[in-house]
């Protein structure tokens, strides 16, 4: 259950970033999670929501993009999604492949809105 620590790091990053955008409030933070990153999405959402409750970030939405494990063939250079534990290149059938992505745990974006532009969802701190 390390998702609480992950959610905390996420919110720290949001607060740091918000310092660079005066006059706005954050609406949504997007993260990319690789399927090999050992992060449980539901647990992360649960922790995230528990941590923003009754804070100035209460209306912040969490967007999760799950990234599949991708391999690159070392012979023909083809990139492919690693499925069903089959690391064979779909193009040339080589087993000489290396993993190029799938363990991401990255902040992708932050959506911010100017105060006054829309009141929906904004818990104003003005």
């Amino acid at each position: 259950m390390h998702e609480m620590g992950i959610a905390n790091s996420l919110l720290e990053a949001v607060r740091t970033e918000m310092g660079l955008h005066p006059g706005t409030y954050p609406c949504k933070v997007g993260v990319r999670i690789g399927e090999m990153a050992a992060i449980d999405q539901d647990a992360l959402r649960f922790c995230f929501e528990a941590m923003i409750l009754d804070t100035d970030l209460e209306s912040l939405e969490l967007g999760i993009e799950v990234c599949p494990r991708q391999h690159r063939c070392l012979l023909c250079g083809r990139d492919f999604i690693f499925r069903d534990y089959d690391s064979r290149c779909p193009q040339c059938a080589s087993l000489e492949t290396s993993c190029i992505s799938g363990d991401e745990l990255e902040l992708a974006y932050l959506e911010v809105e100017e105060y006054g532009a829309s009141t929906a969802g904004a818990k104003s701190t003005q």
Partner: protein
């Protein structure tokens, strides 16, 4: 509404400290190995057997993590190598800052190998880089041969699988070849050794792996220095 791209790691603070640790290990030629497993798979027993068979003049040290108690450090201190317990107080994994803090009064120039025994947990330690040169996962034959498929992250990120407690194979329905196949499904390049820390069977293979890793590490260091 404006979308601001961030493009950085969520655990950037942990990763920053881990990168600093890695650079320090590199500078002083320390091979750092991070041992991960479920509770009770035999990480401490493997380290006991390892320290027992290493020459006392070897420059080896251990950081051992648990939620509570100094029990593991007390077990490992008997072999007269530097050992320090990290008690996390509830946290289910070690992070880079804990390693940095507990290394503060050790001189890295006096070490060749640093073992880190992580908190017993097959999930969370996989997310935290500790600056190690390699992760090693320990799986015991009382657990289940499908563990690599159920908990793929840690098997994916480890260089070596130590299958422990092979002395119990006659008594448990554990298909050791299936376990090895499952580990290689998740991580085709994974090296595997089969050991019993009780009878010492197979420990020679583990010590050989360790020796090879130390030699490779040393030659890479020399190349980098040259």
């Amino acid at each position: 509404m404006e979308r601001v791209p961030l493009e950085r790691k969520v655990l950037s603070e942990n990763d920053r400290i881990a990168a600093e640790l890695r650079a320090r290990f590199q500078e002083h030629g320390v091979l750092c190995l991070n041992l991960i497993s479920s509770p009770g798979s035999g990480k401490t027993s493997l380290l006991e057997r390892t320290l027992q068979s290493l020459p006392r003049q070897d420059r080896v040290a251990v950081l051992t993590g648990d939620i509570q108690t100094e029990n593991d450090a007390n077990r490992l201190k008997r072999f007269n190598f530097p050992v320090k317990q990290i008690t996390t107080g509830g946290t289910c994994h070690l992070d880079a800052r804990m390693i940095e803090r507990h290394l503060a009064d050790w001189r890295l120039e006096d070490l060749d190998v640093l073992f880190i025994e992580n908190v017993g947990n097959l999930v969370c330690p996989a997310s935290y880089d500790l600056g190690e040169a390699a992760k090693i996962v320990v799986l015991s034959v009382t657990e289940g041969e499908d563990k690599p498929l159920k908990y793929p992250s840690i098997f994916f990120k480890s260089d070596l699988l130590v299958l422990n407690k092979i002395d119990l194979l006659p008594y448990v329905p554990f298909d050791i070849n299936a376990a090895a196949d499952n580990a290689r499904k998740v991580n085709p390049g994974m090296e595997i050794v089969r050991v019993s820390c009780l009878t010492t069977d197979g420990l020679h293979d583990w010590m050989k792996w360790l020796e090879q890793r130390r030699t490779t590490h040393k030659s890479v260091m020399q190349e980098t220095a040259g």
